[in-house]
């Protein structure tokens, strides 16, 4: 198990280095923040001076090596726009994103897993088709569209919920539904297919032969085993939520790291963008490592291989 974790950590470090390189180069291909900051009457000298002030002068490889050197000491640079350490900015917004993710996952699991079980138990009939439709809609509906529709219906027309921003529990409802709907479809589809696999297993037949009630067979034996692949999916989903909450956070004016990423791109805030991507990558790698370890515990075949 120790070797497994060490191997995973080493792979993660290599991946982080590659991510840092790609983000560093791609960010600079899109333009220079100095061009967005300078007024119309700025001279070439003004531009050179500002670029030096922003620490964006010198050859790219020198900048990159300096960046990596600093990163190894935990310094991911200073946000050009906010003039604060990029790591500090990231961690000031992270709790806002993390505040919404567990609720979105809970929402998705509460709806998606029972729906998947129902679809598997009623394979091919109307319930299965209805659940399939829900899954397709969940995946196909763009979250910005769903979010705006929810705001229109529940905030503007019915006046039941606030349109956005962080606040009390009522502020969480619409963002959680918007963020969770996509996941609901994923949980539903995977639960259904896992359940169908498990329901064909020999141990399930044995359980039925032993005379266990259908309720016990389904909810205790089938679902418990069908949950193993869901564990992997859970890790992927949390990663997706951390990286993919940009749209939901933008629509609902939620000051999390999704919107921070968007702002960093728009303002060509290279240090912040690099920090955000690298720190998100670390988070995702960490979550995936955790899931892999849990998976190895749950399924001895992984651990032994």
């Amino acid at each position: 198990m120790g070797r497994f974790i060490v191997r995973r950590l080493l792979q993660g470090l290599i991946l982080l280095f590659l991510v840092a390189g790609v983000v560093f180069i791609l960010g600079r291909l899109t333009g220079n923040p100095a061009d967005l900051m300078l007024p119309e009457d700025a001279t070439a000298e003004d531009r050179v001076r500002l670029i030096a002030q922003l620490g964006l002068d010198g050859p790219l490889h020198t900048q990159f090596l300096k960046f990596i050197g600093n990163a190894l000491t935990g310094d991911l640079g200073t946000s050009i726009r906010m003039r604060q350490p990029a790591v500090e900015v990231f961690f000031s917004r992270l709790p806002n994103t993390l505040a919404i993710i567990p609720w979105a996952i809970l929402f998705a699991m509460t709806i998606g897993i029972p729906l998947g079980v129902a679809a598997a138990l009623n394979r091919g009939n109307a319930i299965d088709r209805a659940a399939g439709t829900v899954a397709v809609l969940g995946i196909a509906m763009p979250s910005f569209w769903l979010g705006i529709i929810l705001i229109f219906v529940f905030s503007v027309e019915l006046g039941w919920l606030p349109s956005g921003r962080m606040g009390g529990p009522e502020h969480y409802v619409l963002p959680v539904i918007t963020l969770g709907t996509f996941l609901t479809a994923g949980f539903m589809r995977l639960t259904r297919s896992s359940m169908l696999d498990v329901m064909e297993s020999e141990f399930v037949k044995l359980a039925r032969i032993k005379g266990l009630s259908e309720r016990t067979v389904i909810w205790k034996h089938c679902l418990r085993n069908a949950m193993i692949p869901l564990l992997t999916l859970w890790g992927v989903f949390v990663g997706n939520l951390i990286t993919g909450a940009i749209v939901t956070e933008t629509v609902f004016a939620w000051p999390g790291i999704g919107r921070l990423t968007y702002e960093a791109v728009i303002y060509r805030d290279f240090p912040l963008l690099q920090a955000v991507i690298i720190l998100k990558s670390i988070l995702i790698l960490g979550i995936n490592l955790l899931v892999d370890i849990l998976y190895a515990f749950v399924d001895p075949r992984i651990r032994l291989s």
Partner: protein, 547 residues
């Protein structure tokens, strides 16, 4: 005296006391004015950390500027300084400050604060947009007495008061010397104090900035609301929804959503004279572009005649825009015969596709020609892209075959610098904002050593280019107001006749207002944002401001 008579006296005294107290109570600030914007830019309350106009919406609430607004017609007016005068030799400006101004901690605002602020804005640590031009134009700053400050300039700087006014950008923001020296930059950024009608309460990164009204009369006006919250709500549909539900009182919107906001029961407040989306021609003076059709003035004029500006105003801008004046001139432009240029623009910016086709035929292009067009929009005026798209359609109708390339502004801006190889021979969208001083923008667009250098560079400055340089230098060195107006008119005329940077419309700032939350007010012409307006915004039941 009867009991009844004795009883009347206390009652009368009570009524008189109430009458004295009630009006004052009625004027006490109350409630919260909530304003939603699409961007809070750097979201910093330190004016030297980025002074682009986007910041002014929240910095202006708590800081005063050395020179302020002419609130009624736009352009510059009194600010921290109530008057200013150029020295006889033209090498200095003296600013007289209004008496009795104070910081939010109670300290008096003096000329020492002004000197400190301008020097801080020009210092190496400053990222203020105009820091570089201030370093070039300001030689030194002297405190004459507590209410008088003298700014010595490098050469004659006619435009200095405008450059230090809120009518341009917040570069003239005055900061508290004693406080910053005592607590340091970092602490000042966390707990800033200013001298404006709103004092800082809280800055929540990525979410909002909160202010509280000062509890004394301020020369900009005493706020009607007790609190001001400026919210960052990037998605426009959400901003409108929040305005409709009353979660915000005022929401910044774009022309595309005016109809929807109006249908939703919101009132639209527009700000006149904030910007001109223009189309301009790049590097036409370069040898490699000499055979290009757009190197000919009349062809460029024909492209202007092919544009139906009224259609664009009606259908792209939702009817909430105006016919433009010549390049970078507005109703409030300083030292300019603005009425003359209004008449000129009405005539010369007319829609006349037949004349356009005739000119093209006379210039040797009876079947049109191929034009490359870079469509782009500066931050805050995304409608420029829609204006550009409409123009392309109109050019097609006179036979011009247009190849359009869309650029995000961050990708377009670098193309303007250096030798402009990508842009040479192209037309593109561009923008000029509502500054009161035309020469500044003319210099940035047409001087041979400028970035845009639309008429020529220092090595290739033809007669038109030389004439512009001569007129520009004469304008900025002329101290007599009448002669300066004449020279300004001549410079504008010369450039207008080049048809090199051509206004399409006069764009505006747009705000959706929930009239159940906010009373009637108007914005200040030329300023896209409402930073200096918040203190004048009334409650719905109060008397409208400036209506």
């Amino acid at each position: 005296m009867t009991f009844a008579k004795w009883a009347v006296w206390p009652a009368l005294v009570g009524i008189a006391t109430l009458a004295a107290v009630l009006p004052a109570k009625a004027q006490e600030p109350k409630g919260t004015l909530v304003f939603a914007v699409d961007s809070l830019a750097a979201q910093t309350l330190d004016p030297i950390l980025e002074q682009r106009p986007g910041n002014a919406v929240y910095q202006a609430a708590m800081y005063d500027s050395l020179v302020g607004f002419d609130i009624e017609k736009g352009g510059i007016g009194p600010g921290v300084a109530e008057s200013w005068q150029m020295s006889d030799d033209g090498l200095a400006w003296t600013f007289k400050l209004r008496a009795g101004q104070k910081w939010h901690n109670g300290d008096p605002l003096t000329a020492h604060d002004v000197k400190f602020s301008l020097e801080r804005t020009m210092s190496p640590k400053s990222q203020a947009a105009a820091a570089a031009s201030m370093r070039r134009s300001i030689k030194s700053i002297e405190v004459i007495d507590d209410l008088t400050v003298r700014v010595n300039t490098n050469g004659t700087q006619i435009g200095l008061p405008a450059a230090l006014s809120r009518a341009v950008a917040p570069e003239g923001s005055i900061m508290p010397k004693a406080y910053i020296e005592k607590v340091g930059d970092e602490e000042f950024r966390k707990k800033p104090i200013g001298s404006g009608p709103w004092k800082f309460v809280r800055n929540v990164p990525g979410d909002r900035i909160e202010f509280e009204a000062v509890n004394y009369d301020h020369w900009r006006g005493r706020p009607k609301f007790k609190y001001l919250q400026i919210l960052l709500v990037p998605e426009e549909a959400t901003r409108i929804a929040m305005a409709r539900t009353g979660e915000v009182g005022i929401a910044a919107i774009t022309p595309e959503t005016i109809d929807g906001a109006t249908r939703g029961g919101l009132e639209i407040v527009t700000v006149p004279g904030t910007a001109q989306p223009v189309f301009q021609f790049w590097g036409t003076w370069r040898p490699e572009a000499k055979d290009s059709p757009i190197a000919k003035k009349r062809v460029r004029q024909a492209l202007s005649l092919a544009i139906d500006r009224k259609q664009i105003i009606q259908h792209v801008m939702g009817g909430k825009a105006a016919m433009p004046r010549p390049f970078s001139t507005f109703s409030f432009t300083d030292s300019l015969s603005v009425d003359r240029w209004k008449a000129w623009a009405d005539e010369n910016f007319r829609y006349d596709p037949e004349l356009a086709k005739k000119i093209l035929a006379e210039e040797g292009y009876p079947n049109g020609f191929e034009l490359k067009f870079a469509n782009t929009a500066l931050p805050g005026t995304q409608f420029m892209v829609a204006v550009g798209t409409a123009m392309v359609d109109m050019w097609t109708k006179i036979g011009v075959k247009v190849t359009v390339k869309h650029y995000e502004w961050g990708a377009f801006a670098p193309l303007v610098r250096g030798e402009q190889p990508t842009l040479t021979g192209w037309a593109s969208m561009y923008r000029t904002v509502g500054r009161p001083d035309a020469p500044w923008r003319y210099n940035a667009a047409f001087s041979p050593d400028s970035n845009e250098r639309l008429l020529g560079d220092t090595k290739n400055c033809n007669e038109d280019c030389k004439k512009f340089v001569e007129l520009y230098k004469a304008v900025i060195n002329e101290r007599d107001p009448k002669k300066r107006t004449e020279l300004n008119d001549a410079m504008v005329e010369h450039v207008a006749n080049q048809w090199m940077s051509i206004p399409t419309i006069e764009g505006m700032g747009y705000y959706a207002v929930n009239t159940k939350k906010v009373g009637q007010f108007t914005a200040i012409p030329g300023r896209h944002e409402l930073g200096d307006v918040f203190e004048r915004v009334p409650h719905p039941e109060q008397k409208p401001w400036n209506k």
